[in-house]
């Protein structure tokens, strides 16, 4: 099958859906002639013009609210927030308005919008351009939160997100944009709330999100050389969460390592640990549930410090080995 990048997969999903559905439009900063800060929308302005590619000045709150309002009357806007750090500015309209309108109005309204945004560190962009804030939004009933890892998942999950009748926060990762993978040309959707077992194994379950899925898969290869057989589960969507797949995997392996980039305290790992501990998998656990996540610091500028602020392949290998050898 044809291989394209994660970035191209996202662009293709948006393009195909805009061709198919006239109610879909884009709104965001520098998404027109500039093509978006990461070039995700490159060429779309030329194809769809200023009526459907709404380039805005620096107005995170305004553009997110505009997407919310348009969605409220049945349009399907896709808002781009240039860096996830700036969703803090957009969060009033997203958290107080978009997420709650349906419930607050007794189920009589819906807000079918997507807010796309790149998260994560690793580009040297420092404290204000590197955060992973997904769990802020996971905490809000009414929002859905999706984090694709592969080009295939990115396209299928984005198409599902656009067609979903709820506000979806679609969290991309800057370091994944240029990664390649097989992606069908035709349109297809991946249901939100369906985890994917990215590698099957018997000794340990790693539940990881976003770039940590790729790093965990690399770690699994390393561990395989030592005879440790790791299963890697990618939830793909954090809310709704496919607890079944995770619980089944832990029942099989009896050991679990949770890996994410976001800061550990208050991160999604705590939620996953809770879900596992509350489930029937609890009785199958042979070791404590372990979380490996970002340090309790903002992302620093210095390259070495930046790398050390979040889990790397070697850290995952080491933690996984410790768990399997019951050294935790």
């Amino acid at each position: 099958m044809r291989e394209i990048t994660y970035l191209e997969a996202i662009r293709e999903a948006m393009t195909q859906e805009m061709e198919r559905d006239e109610s879909v439009f884009l709104i965001g900063e520098d998404i027109g002639t500039y093509g978006g800060a990461f070039q995700v929308t490159h060429g779309m302005y030329e194809q769809f013009g200023p009526e459907r590619i709404l380039d805005t000045p620096i107005t995170e709150l305004g553009l997110t609210g505009a997407a919310t309002g348009a969605a409220l009357i049945g349009m399907r806007p896709i808002a781009e927030i240039m860096f996830m750090d700036f969703t803090t500015l957009a969060s009033e309209q997203l958290v107080n308005q978009a997420a709650k309108l349906r419930f607050m109005f007794g189920g009589k309204a819906s807000v079918p919008m997507v807010l796309r945004t790149p998260a994560g560190s690793g580009t040297g962009a420092a404290e204000h351009h590197s955060q992973s804030l997904e769990n802020w939004f996971v905490h809000v009933p009414g929002l859905k939160v999706v984090m694709p890892t592969t080009p295939y998942d990115a396209k299928g999950l984005l198409l599902a997100s656009i067609r979903d009748n709820n506000p979806v926060v679609f969290v991309e990762h800057k370091l994944l944009y240029k990664t390649k993978g097989e992606v069908p040309e035709e349109d297809y959707t991946i249901p939100l709330g369906q985890a994917d077992v990215k590698r099957s194994g018997t000794d340990l379950t790693i539940v990881a999100t976003s770039i940590m899925v790729s790093r965990s898969l690399e770690a699994a290869e390393e561990l395989a050389k030592e005879g440790i057989n790791v299963e890697v589960v990618d939830p793909r969507s954090l809310r709704p969460l496919d607890t079944g797949t995770i619980v089944e995997s832990v029942k099989k392996t009896g050991k679990v390592l949770i890996v994410h980039e976001a800061v550990k305290t208050g991160g999604f790992g705590g939620e996953l640990a809770g879900v596992i501990a509350e489930s029937e998998a609890f009785g199958y656990l042979e070791a404590p549930i372990v979380r490996l996540a970002g340090r309790e610091i903002p992302i620093p500028y210095n390259r070495t410090l930046e790398q050390n602020a979040v889990p790397q392949v070697a850290n995952i290998v080491e933690k996984a080995r410790d768990i399997v050898q019951l050294k935790v």
């Binding site: 520098d30 990461f38 204000h128």
Partner: protein
């Protein structure tokens, strides 16, 4: 704990009267800025720097003209395109360059980098990665300065792009309400990334906007050092004398792309060339020569001195130590 700028007042910079000494100092700072930015670009291209950077080549007069009007004990708050502002606020070039290189002895111990250089002791409360992020804080600094009543002011710098944010609106409202000693300085370089300012407002309209909030405002030719200085001087007097905030809009232009990811698809080479022909440094050299402040030879020597200082800073930075991984979790909380 009061965090006052711990700078010894050097020569007085105040007063609209520019003489030989002031002309020399201002030209030197403009050259230091230009040289710093050129070095930054070179170091980046050579792979010595990671991340991104926002260069202010072409905007030197806005930084130097504005900051030359305040005392060392006054404050500034900058933005992402902030190297020039640091230099104009008398930053130590070595510590600045070391920060740019992410080194332990840089201004922010290598934690902040290009976009977050701060010199708190020197009254530079820092650059900012969030557009508009500095504006509300500047109001708060103004509130504190007013309460302390020592006649200090703060210059709050922001780009034209920041003027479109909600933070701008709220900051204007509070600044006027609290009558704070803040001079807001908009460095209007005509674009926010690719978004052309004139598509949503103009310099004159920006100034006019402030007037609607009840704040005096003026737009200047931001590439004319003396015009900037004169306008900011008046604004600083106004703020310092307790009359409240003021807005100055400096019309200028960035010669380089927005950052390293810019492909310049949104503007023409003709436009860039046109602005290069009103180079703030060349323009000031002409004035300085006409007014007999500096001969061409003296100006050339100043240029060489500026570039030499940056070269020394580069060497200092490259020879400086990296932060240790053991120290990574330090400094999140105050003791």
């Amino acid at each position: 704990m009061e965090q006052e700028p711990k700078v010894k007042p050097k020569g007085k910079k105040k007063g609209i009267t520019v003489g030989k000494a002031e002309a020399r100092e201002m030209l030197l700072q403009m050259y230091e800025i230009r040289a710093f930015e050129e070095q930054a670009e070179k170091s980046y291209m050579a792979g010595k720097i990671h991340g991104t950077m926002h260069l202010s080549i072409g905007q030197e007069a806005s930084a130097v003209g504005s900051i030359s009007t305040i005392e060392p004990t006054d404050y500034i708050l900058g933005h992402h395109r902030g190297h020039g502002l640091c230099i104009a606020k008398d930053a130590d070039l070595n510590l600045m360059m070391a920060e740019f290189y992410g080194k332990e002895n840089g201004y922010c111990r290598g934690r902040g980098g290009s976009m977050h250089i701060a010199d708190v002791e020197g009254g530079n409360l820092g650059a900012n990665g969030v557009v508009g992020g500095g504006l509300p804080m500047a109001v708060g600094v103004g509130v504190g300065l007013k309460m302390r009543a020592k006649g200090q002011v703060i210059l709050s710098f922001f780009g034209d792009g920041a003027a479109s944010t909600g933070a701008f609106h709220e900051s204007m409202i509070l600044a006027v309400l609290f009558k704070v000693p803040v001079v807001f300085i908009c460095e209007n370089n005509q674009y926010a990334m690719s978004f052309r300012t004139s598509d949503w407002t103009t310099s004159e309209n920006l100034a006019g906007l402030a007037e609607h909030y009840g704040m005096p405002a003026v737009a200047t030719d931001g590439n004319d050092l003396l015009a900037v200085r004169e306008a900011v001087e008046e604004a600083v007097e106004y703020a310092r004398s307790g009359q409240g905030p003021y807005l100055v809009v400096n019309d200028t232009y960035r010669w380089r792309g927005h950052s390293k990811s810019d492909r310049n698809r949104y503007r023409t080479q003709e436009e860039i060339d046109e602005w290069k022909s009103v180079d703030p440094i060349e323009r000031f050299r002409k004035v300085a020569s006409k007014k007999k402040w500096l001969t061409a030879k003296e100006a050339d020597e100043i240029k060489d001195e500026g570039y030499a200082r940056i070269e020394a800073a580069r060497i200092f930075a490259e020879d400086s130590p990296e932060p240790t991984v053991e120290s990574i979790e330090e400094g999140v909380y105050a003791p």
